[in-house]
């Protein structure tokens, strides 16, 4: 799951940074001339900077391969179900709410009043996809559910006093 990966990666890097700062703080009691330190660590910086750039580049390329904005390629005879979603203060109007496992679905999301957020949660309350619901614009979510169950649609952009009550339901059957 993406969230777990994100959390673990962040944790590792944050702990690494903590270790570095801790180490430097620990070593700060010693007193040495600045010039040799500068010379040595400037050189190390070039290496460190270059490594960082390379790592970032690799991650960038890796994570940009598949974007949620891209419409999936549908097989012949496997046309997606298009669901019109309209957000209003404070509820969801969906043209359809019952789907089958494996059915490709396109949610076409818009809003009639203010900006809302269209977030699909699985039955364990994990966010699995989202987009913004904007007036005058239609954002799309491409998704194929692979597990049956009841999914919730929560509003993810603050839209007014009943923002947290804006919950819709989707049912996925086998």
């Amino acid at each position: 799951m993406v969230q777990t990966v994100a959390w673990i990666v962040s944790l590792i890097f944050m702990l690494l940074i903590t270790a570095v700062f801790g180490f430097v703080a620990f070593k700060s009691k010693e007193k040495r001339d600045y010039e040799p330190i500068k010379k040595k660590w400037y050189k190390a910086r070039t290496f460190y900077g270059a490594t960082l750039v390379v790592v970032m580049l690799i991650i960038t390329i890796y994570t940009l391969r598949e974007l949620p904005y891209n419409q999936p390629v549908y097989g012949a005879g496997n046309d997606p179900t298009i669901v019109d979603v309209e957000a209003i203060q404070f509820g969801w109007k969906m043209s359809e709410t019952e789907f089958k496992v494996g059915e490709p679905i396109e949610f076409h999301v818009t809003s009639t009043d203010v900006t809302h957020g269209f977030g699909i949660y699985d039955s364990e309350l994990n966010l699995i996809a989202q987009t913004q619901a904007m007036p005058d614009y239609t954002n799309k979510v491409y998704i194929t559910f692979d597990k049956p169950g009841t999914y919730d649609v929560l509003c993810l952009e603050y839209c007014g006093l009943a923002h947290h009550l804006m919950i819709g339901k989707i049912v996925i059957t086998e």
Partner: protein, 493 residues
Amino acid sequence: MVTTINKGEFKSRNNLIATYLIIGGLVIAAMMVFGILMLLAQGGVLDLPPAAFYQFLTIHGTGMIGGAALAASAVMWYFLSNYVELSKKVFKLNLILSLIGVVMVIIGVFSFKYASAWTFLYPLPALSGGAWGVTGALLYLVGMLILGVGFLLLYIDTGRAIIKKHGSLGKGLGWDVISGKRAEKDAPSPTVVASTMVTIVNVSALTTGATVLIMNIINVVNPAFTFDPLLAKNLTYAFGHIFANSIIYMGVIAVYEILPRYTNRPWKSNRPFLIAWTMSTAFTLVIYTHHMLMDSVMPKWMLIMGQVLSYANGLPVLVITAYGALMIVYKSGVKWDMASGLIFLSMFGWVVGVVPAIVDATIVVNHVMHNTKWVPGHFHMYMGLGAVVMIFGFIYYLSKVDSSLQTNGLDKVGFISYTLGIISVSVGFLISGALSTPRRWATHFPEWMAPAVFGAIGGVLAVVGLTIFIIHFIRYVKVRGTAGSDLNEQKLA
């Protein structure tokens, strides 16, 4: 460099600086209390009506940004005035306008129930679903506009002063040194470079902000005038992102100025440093699009740039500023006290806060983490543990050089309490985010409550720490100037 400033002038400058910092500090502390109340409500401990929750949310965001920006601008002004000639009148005017703006915002939120969150996403101010009326919206929006005017005047003045001294803003960023036309030893000081960057980005941000605020005002007064909501969103986030970010870029001046004095190692602008700051200037202006990664109607290249440049924007701090701070401290025999400790902590806070930010700026991650509590997790870390700590580090520094006030064990308790507190708050948020908890929800499902309560407890610790800091600062204000010489700061190292 300070030779021209006489004693009296020095004192009145510090008076004004102290006023800024006290107001900023108190506002931040008060906003933390609102933050704790919100977390308690989300944790199911406190029964807060949703209307009150969203009013708190609005005031918390607005107040934190406003208070921290005010205090950070005092840090910048204090050090920048050593290099260029700033107008004290304008500095005072900004304070007055800010206070007027704050009062209007408070009245709008609490007396007229205005609660659009500090992002006031168009057309929410006009379409509240009956929750608030035109008066509340106008008080808030006009209040923000007045606040913006004050800050705009301040940055026009810093820009004017920098141009007068250095010739142009390009030279303030050291472009002639980068291009090799000028020697590295004649480069503008880090303070000037950072101030130039802040001037450029904030004048842009505030002009943009004024446009979108007036646009909202027009829409509130006459809903028949409608605007493109996507463009409005772009402008709102461009303004909000830049202005919020500038706080840490103002605060970091304290790091550049204070660390060298403690370690007796100079922090000079060299070419990589200048390049890094020019990069920061450019990136800060354009990476706001990472707030819009979930608007698939945006041009795709802009969203991809949003990810790529957000990554790149981590480089200046990771490779230059934080690295530089570590180098300066490493084996320096630095004397640790409250000021140097807080300054070092602030660099840690900034860097560590960059990590979840970069993770979230990744489009595939953003797809399931945008607008979850992961986002406040990252910015509570780098604002709470970075920017705010820079400000309080400066406060301890100021009280040290400008008075004979000693720190004691209580301050150390404050330091530890605050650090642990903010770390708990941030980690609480990050865990909530990893659990998909949506951000800005007045109530939580039971499975999301525990981290909120944990965060609230952390918040209490942080407020305790912050209160100790503020008490120290108020004691300093009372005994100011007792160090014998106001020019003491020059001799600190």
